[in-house]
Amino acid sequence: MAGTIRGRIDTYHNALNRYKNTQSFFTSLYKFLKNLEVAGVTTEIARHGGLTGSAANVNYHDEASPFLHNAWYVFRWNTNGGRSWPWYLYVQFFRNDVGSDTNAAPATPSMFINVTNYGSWGVVMCQSAMGIGGDQNPFPFTGTMGTNVKNSTYAWRIPASGGTHLGIWPHSNGPDRLHGARAKGQIVPVDGSLLIDGETFTINDGINGAKIFEFDSNGSVSGSNIPVTFTAGMTKYEIQAAIITALNVTALAAGDFYIRGWQGSGGNVQLINKQGGSIGNNTITETVANAGFLVSGMSGGTGTLQNNRCLFGIVNDTSSCRAHFVADDDSLVILSEYTEGGGGANSYSGTFFGVYTPIPGVATIATKPWCVLQAMAIPLSDGYINNNDNDDTFLVDTGVAVVDPAYGARGVTISRLHEIQQAQPNRCFTTPQYEEYPIFFAGTEWNVLEPHAGGGISHLGVAGAVEFVREIYGVTNNDTNTAKTRAYFGAAGVGYKWAIPWDGTTTPGTTTTRDGVNF
């Protein structure tokens, strides 16, 4: 946690129309992010005002130049003295009644919880990502602010100029998941005596173009070909090692290249494209005369990293809704009241984006401790593994965290100190007190597909805790502490709630304006 805590709280959306309410939420959040930009916390990276819209379309639905269907914006949480890596937030507004789906222009590519049209809903959806290494920018786009164009084949990417990994949420866009599976392949080498100097194989990672790898026994290669140095006396296992060196070292030295190789069985070279998505499905070609030299792939990549989760959704025209946005220089929490899709009156969903505190044993590894946790109905479910493609089913909680930056973001599960939280208020104080607890999470995924110097296990175990948002037990929805510097939201009644910073003045649930209260 760093910097000043700022908020736009108790925003109230009561337009008596599902789409207007959704648009109002989307616009209110945009204005809050712009406030943060003025304070230097964020930078607006890209935006589109929506279908038929222009750069001017940034307003509420009943104002001139409103945000329109499929409007979207991307903000960057800038680096600061304590954090040398930025993270990015993508937000999109969708209204079902316009006739085009979430994946239509100007938002292409885009899905919402695995579909492109969700009934008669108005929806605000989002993604978040961070680029690891290179220019740290994971969002590819073109055009001018207000009418920007997303990359249609990969919504997010490994950063250019030396980037190594991508951390992305929702998890279904991540490594080997439904919307971001990585293409894989294989090379079957032969002994060096069966190779001829100048023979080649060619691989294309889909972003950086094809690279030609040339077997080289005379110290000379054609043009910019990547040498695979060999001698006639080398075994196929030594050729295997030479190919891996060419892929993982020599090719990288020549520029960005996302395909990596590692030792497979029988001397084979296993290949994987670190950039997820179908863009990696490019056939390997080769000119080796010996019939024993074989290539397969690249194949198996899926998706365009386009799937979104819901920040706010509504299906009826009668429900009024509140939302709270609170941030510091590192993190953002969004709480939105919902009445549909399983929620009840005064129920809240919550999404946290930003920095977690690694436990000491992980701190030296977790140099970029970024995570996203989303509770569709506060609190987060705990005690189950949340790392499969189904994490984008509507009512399933989801979370990712970058534990080891060498693996990008992976799924997490939540822990909760049940025994303690139910002993509330704490009567060990002279005046009994309600307590707030960090939200602990643990990595849940094995890594078995990608070579890494540290071995194959990277994500299991307790990683850290979110402290900007905490959990509290025993209070009711809309409660605050006495000073009103903390406020508590969740389902109606007593239970687990999220505790967030508050302004010291406002009673939750009392304002009547969509701009809410800024602090």
């Binding site: 505190t357 690694p358 436990i359 000491p360 044993g361 992980v362 590894i365 705990d382 005690g383 189950y384 534990v403 599960t413 939540i414 822990s415 909760r416 100190l417 049940h418 025994e419 303690i420 002993a423 509330q424 208020p425 704490n426 009567r427 060990c428 104080f429 002279t430 009994p432 007190q433 309600y434 307590e435 707030e436 607890y437 960090p438 602990f440 643990a442 990595g443 849940t444 094995w446 540290g454 071995g455 296990i457 990277s458 994500h459 299991l460 175990g461 307790v462 990683a463 850290g464 805790a465 402290e467 905490r470 509290i472 502490n481 006495t482 000073a483 510097t485 903390r486 505790a499």
Partner: protein
């Protein structure tokens, strides 16, 4: 936590006498005494009172095969002295009985109970008490007599001269408990019902200037030739949760599997098993029943292990579980938790060791350790010298290995 972390690993070989298991308990009792004397030599403790046991004298301080051994119902009291970080002393009583001689609490060990029992022929036992005197001269010891033939008073512990209160552990000796008249109830460290055992025991001591823990094996025929099945007993300080001010952050418990199950009530007001207690500064300050939390939500299966990089040490959160006084209090010092690993697992560098049940990876107590100390395992030591153990001084800051983020629990202002 203050001062150097010190430790000692002792192996108590079985005796050649009839019913050697009872000598085994005597050996452990004597080993505790000798470690207390070691702490006295470095200024951490001061011996306050002692009795050599039934028929014994001041000279009875030896192992069972010595010229003047500690005898049945021998006991001793040491004071953990004040230091720069702790302005109040705490007192520690340890007593044993040899069941074929007398029940626990018989003279010169009267009055005395363990877990509200006097035991029987089957129970050769060691049990402990701790006490804190509030105000005045801060001395809660109510005994009399000369060192070596000292006498316990009734009650065993008193409000200090000029003081205002006395907090006695286990909880049943304090206000609202079943033993507030004589304050004689002790927390069972362990008893050896398998008095014919011919297997060795190991007993380890870990301490700093504020806290003391004993970890020991249960050597029984059910678990023969295997010194890995550890119990543990802790008397000492805890670090209060953020925002909580505690005048006497002291806790006591004993656990025959190294730790008590999550949230299990420990230190009931009746004084029965399991013994223990924790000082709670709430509306009515006093010694209360406690429970534990271990982050066990993470341990839904064995694949959650240590980030693939080593063992995570989770803090053990101490909770008051007594009705009307419930709430989180803090974290014990010296004592951490890990899961799922084998007993006797030693961390890289040997700075911590896991102790607990032997049979499968499970929850483990993580204690400070020294790689220079080889602990006993699967063997009877070649000689009896090992029962005096190997003493070590630990690195000064081993707790840096812990999951400190959880210790930043905050309290709503």
């Amino acid at each position: 936590m203050s001062g150097k972390i010190r430790g000692r690993n002792c192996v108590i070989p079985y005796s050649i006498n009839a019913e050697p298991g009872r000598d085994d308990i005597q050996g452990c009792f004597t080993a505790i005494y000798r470690y207390m004397k070691y702490l006295e030599s470095v200024g951490v403790t001061t011996e306050i009172a002692r009795h050599g046991g039934v028929g014994g004298s001041a000279s009875n301080v030896d192992f069972w095969d010595g010229a003047a051994p500690f005898l049945c119902n021998a006991w001793f009291v040491f004071r953990f002295n004040t230091n720069a970080n702790r302005t109040w002393p705490w007192y520690y009583l340890v007593q044993w009985n040899k069941a074929n001689v007398a029940n626990f609490g018989v003279a010169p060990g009267a009055p005395g109970l363990w877990d509200n029992q006097a035991g029987s022929y089957a129970y050769t036992s060691i049990a402990v008490q701790a006490a804190i005197g509030v105000g005045g001269d801060q001395n809660p010891w109510n005994g009399t007599g000369t060192m070596g033939t000292s006498a316990k008073g009734t009650p065993v512990w008193k409000v200090p001269a000029g003081g205002t209160d006395v907090y006695v552990f286990p909880r049943s000796n304090s206000t609202g408990g079943a033993h507030t008249v004589s304050r004689q109830n002790c927390t069972l460290l362990w008893n050896n019902t398998d008095y014919n055992t011919t297997y060795s025991s190991a007993i380890n001591f870990i301490s700093d200037d504020d806290s003391f823990m004993i970890v020991y094996t249960n050597s029984t025929t059910a678990n023969p030739n295997n010194l890995v099945d550890y119990g543990a007993a802790y008397n000492g300080l805890y670090t209060p949760v953020s925002g909580l001010t505690v005048a006497y952050p002291f806790v006591q418990w004993s656990a025959d599997q190294g730790y008590r199950p999550a949230n299990q009530a420990t230190g009931p007001v009746a004084g029965t098993t399991p013994g223990g207690g924790i000082f709670n500064p709430g509306v009515t300050a006093g010694v209360r029943q406690l429970g534990f939390s271990y982050f066990d939500e993470f341990w839904i299966n064995n694949s959650f292990r240590a980030n693939g990089r080593g063992v995570d040490f989770a803090p053990m959160l101490l909770v008051c579980t007594e009705t009307n006084y419930t709430g989180a209090l803090g974290f014990p010092q010296l004592y951490k938790f890990a899961y799922p690993i084998f007993s006797r697992y030693q961390t890289l560098g040997g700075t911590r060791k896991a102790l607990g049940s032997a049979y499968s990876p499970s929850g483990r107590v993580m204690i400070p350790w020294s790689s220079a100390v080889a602990d006993a395992y699967h063997t009877r030591p070649a000689g009896i010298d090992s029962r005096d153990g190997t003493t070590f001084i630990h690195l000064d800051t081993p707790i840096a290995e812990t999951v400190s983020v959880s210790e930043s629990l905050v309290v709503t202002p």
